[in-house]
Subunit: 347 residues, 4 copies
């Protein structure tokens, strides 16, 4: 199929995930954007809301009309949780493929989904079919998927950081710790007092320590790697920057662990979007600003039993829109990095 | 010449202008990077200094060796002021074309250069030949130039903002005011206390009010547009952001000025990198973050005699490296926007 | 009256102006806080909303009950525009003195007020009596006032900057320019997309160029200084910091102006909260962060006819709550700097 | 001794710790500043370097002259590591009491000091006498001390966070984790590329994972609480803010741990500068900006075995200058909170 352009629609294009997806799709060589929907902004030119898109996207937002969406080869959902699940069955029935950037299809267990998202799932029968869109683990399944559940931002950074350790069975899986820090764009483009520059600027805090919605998603992924349930403490923090996630991961080795640097480099040798830094390095979030890359470093401080993994991504790119485009490329047979070659903006 | 790749070297690749130039050149379809020089970092891999370039640039810094540089079709200078002028004559003699991103060839008057830059000019005979690289004014001369003086960041934002008014002769040129605000990357990647996050963060100040080096450059450019000397008050400010310049320009109309919105839209109708916003708009620096675009808006508050022009650029792109690539494209017959298509990163 | 404590209430204590006022009043030696009202937060402990006040203020918010407020010696209004004017007449009748931090009593002309604030004024008969609370001009009237209209943040920075020039009659008052830059706390603690850290961070923009509500207030003040109408262009900008206003003021001298440094130092020699910096200096907003000081510098670039005045304040202190406390001190015979001695937080 | 003013000198007043100490001392009711030394700035007015001190401190920097310092009752060292130890013995011999804000006297073991600080200790005989200035543990010893070693910023936040757990013997001390995040002022007022706003702004990274100088200091303190050696993994991070430290602490309970909220509230019930937040809360660094407070919250996510403690301080206040003043108050019999009553600046 490579070569011809596919027609693509974006449902819910007014948030940060949406505008980032549009930034990437507008320059993708094999994509023709056909519709960008927004209930609240219908009729408004997309470039009026997002001036960076002036001259690149001429479409106006339209209302979310399933009949119109059925003409697309692929529909992305960049909507709040709970929206995609009401529209996806009809689209799949019409032969449209779907990538959901929200959480609707990330958990395999409908009861657990209801517990964390506070509503019953509208189409639990699709949860098993949906492919979890982390290419570094599920690449082959993604190629053939009708429905891809694009991973959350924290889950992407944390799973890629733990993956080599868990696959190799080197650490005690009952006491994993993920201390993660996110820029504010992870909270979306919603008007809330807590995310004002006057509140979140020059400030640092943890949040959601009693329980964050990404916890079951991460646990489910880590269980898949480890082949058994894992014990995970996950503490997210808000840091006064716009883009970027930094996950600091702690695990305890259960025996002689060998050369972890080699382990990580080997595991990710053929991954286009995972970059293992040299021994002793500390990745910076800005080194991936705007890029679809996850950069990792692995440490054993003072040669002790605790392994510390540092993992950075741009939450809007590898943590959302970029990974979605990577999944699209896999689904439609394009080069995996098509439209994703841009270099991080530094400084 | 379009079609074949040119060989390009960058002298002084360790500053912000340098890394931004490398970001753009690494993805340019018609450029082969052959050397990136740095006296202080010779031998270090470029991607070790700038981790965003990992996987994109494999070169190491080399010492600045003129003999080696002579093999390039084009040499960029991203050096401190006063360096390029010592090397350019030999390169031109060898048939190499040059774009200087520093100030060495921006002023036509060697005495004035010495006054503002504090040293005698090393090759005043080249000042007349050097073409001032503002494509919106000197496009044809740039195409044929051996030596292009890439404009300063403030001068780019301010000249593009005043240009239609001055060309049309609508305003009193004796009392122009340019109140400009820059992010800190404009000060370069030098270790100075004043640019520490602890000093420049959450802070705003003017600087250089008694006289800033960009003043004679801007005055020279405005004089060219107006056909006569102009009176200009230029006040630069430091604002706590990384990239971006916002120039707020004030001029007084001398008679009925007509529809200024039409004037601006007409003047820039065919300019690929100048975007006149709709009437009443206020451009934001983030709308051009990482992009080679200048966005403008023109106002006459309360319909009075004072015209207010708002002009934003990314100081490292349209204000430096992007404009340099635009000039390179013109000089070598490539599409003017080759390698410059990327969309601003927002948020 | 100095010596005894006065009872003070704050109406509308949930915004940034409110919390800053509470920070200052909690440590004021002569103030006993009796009520802090908020319609939306009634019943909530003040320190639950503003954790910096934990251990300093034990009150809970109460509903705005005029009967209860009548027991105070002084009521501050830190409410949105249009609220104070509905409650002030009853309080004055009860013998309570009032300082309004909003705009309700700043303009002398009720028609103009209606034009800029979009509603008819509820008690135009009080506009002449209300004293404009800029102590550097109206100190004596403030001492005796029943009702003080606390100036806006931009108006404070701009009026203090122009004052010596206009009183001395040295400049052309038909073409004054005030290019002002504000941190985001000036927009208040309201949930709006535009003030999110994801939007306003790492970004700079002008706003309100066609007309900002502070324009008539500033014009009225400047007219008072000049003794005649003035022509003023006022352009506010949003800069990515939390606190601080920097006003850059431009005026043209009409004759030999003498030594402006001496003029400024003389005019403000006895002012406890205006600090004229040495010749050639550039004030920084952080030098007044949290302090009730206005720092000024006056320049004549290249000895020309244009005077450039740089004026910085903390918008929440000298631009709001601190100035209100200064006015309170005057009204009740306390030392003018009581409760206002703290030093700016730097870095 | 309470009542009379003591004479105080500050050695090394040009860094962030120094200016913060001066801010606090300038308003302290019982302190008379007699000398502020700086080798590099001798002769410069202190307020010229730190404009926030204009009008508050009239002294100029002087060279560091031991003879002159001997006239003080107390000398603070706000110098780089390794300076105080060369001057302290002479001062103590002269009967001057000393508070060192650097690391010279924090470790009890001279060999360990040499290992981490890269030079032999100049007066190891004083290491046992020096009192570690954490009032919450060593209050009585501080009162009588001649020489106080003021704790580091990370060590303060981390020790206060772990203290109740370790004293109560509730957790496995072999696997403690401290994931800490600091604003850039922790790195001091030194010109380094890494701390430029252009580098550290909008960026997040870990550093010093293989080993940070605060590790032995923290371990020594935790050992004292636990009564035995502890296993600690300490990972510091740099977050793009100016002031503030947030420590996220992880420990595993070894049995039924009881009500941890009560444990923390009880332990700190009488501490003027430790504030235990209500159950479920998340402290923010801004809630202590400029204040000498440590705010804590304790969590057991999902009721599991892992305890998560959140601890915030202002690194320059409770993490440096404020704690030093608290120690001074104890040493000279002043009220412990004298000069430290100011409320955090929020927003």
């Amino acid at each position: 199929m490579a070569g011809r352009k596919i027609t693509v629609s974006v449902v819910g294009g007014t948030g940060y995930t949406g505008v980032e997806l549009l930034r990437l799709l507008a320059l993708h060589p094999s994509v023709e954007l056909t519709a960008i929907t927004s209930r609240s902004e219908a009729g408004v030119a997309v470039a009026d809301l997002f001036p960076n898109l002036r001259g690149h996207i001429d479409l106006a937002f339209t209302g979310p009309d399933i009949a119109a969406l059925k003409n697309s080869d692929l529909v992305f959902f960049a909507t709040p949780n709970g929206t995609a699940m009401t529209m996806v069955p009809a689209l799949l029935d019409a032969g449209v493929r779907v990538i959901d950037l929200a959480a609707d299809f990330r958990l395999k267990d409908a009861a657990q989904w209801q517990q964390w998202y506070g509503m019953p799932h509208a189409c639990p029968q699709l949860l098993q079919e949906a492919v979890y869109g982390l290419p570094e683990i599920h690449r082959d399944a993604i190629r053939d998927a009708r429905l891809v559940a694009n991973p959350g931002c924290y889950p992407t950074a944390i799973q890629l950081g733990f993956l080599p350790l868990l696959e190799a069975g080197l650490v005690d899986t009952s006491g994993l710790i993920a201390d993660a820090k996110s820029g504010v764009s992870g909270a979306g483009r919603k008007a809330t007092v807590a995310m004002l520059l006057g509140e979140a600027g020059d400030n640092f805090k943890a949040y959601g320590v009693p329980g964050h919605r990404h916890l079951p998603e991460i646990r489910q992924g880590l269980k898949g790697m480890a082949g058994k349930d894992v014990g995970l403490t996950f503490v997210p923090h808000l840091t006064p920057m716009i883009r970027g996630i930094h996950a600091t991961l702690y695990a305890t080795v259960t025996g002689p662990a060998g050369d972890l640097q080699v382990l990580y480099e080997t595991r990710y040798a053929n991954e286009p979007f995972v970059d293992v830094l040299p021994e002793g390095a500390h990745p910076e979030t800005r080194s991936v600003r705007g890029a679809n890359t996850c950069r990792l470093a692995v440490h054993r401080p003072q040669g002790g039993k605790v392994v510390v993994v540092l993992s950075v991504i741009d939450n809007l790119v590898k943590g959302a829109a970029g990974q979605a485009v990577q999944n699209m490329n896999l689904m439609f047979g394009y080069p995996e990095s098509a439209g994703l070659e841009s270099i991080a903006l530094l400084p």
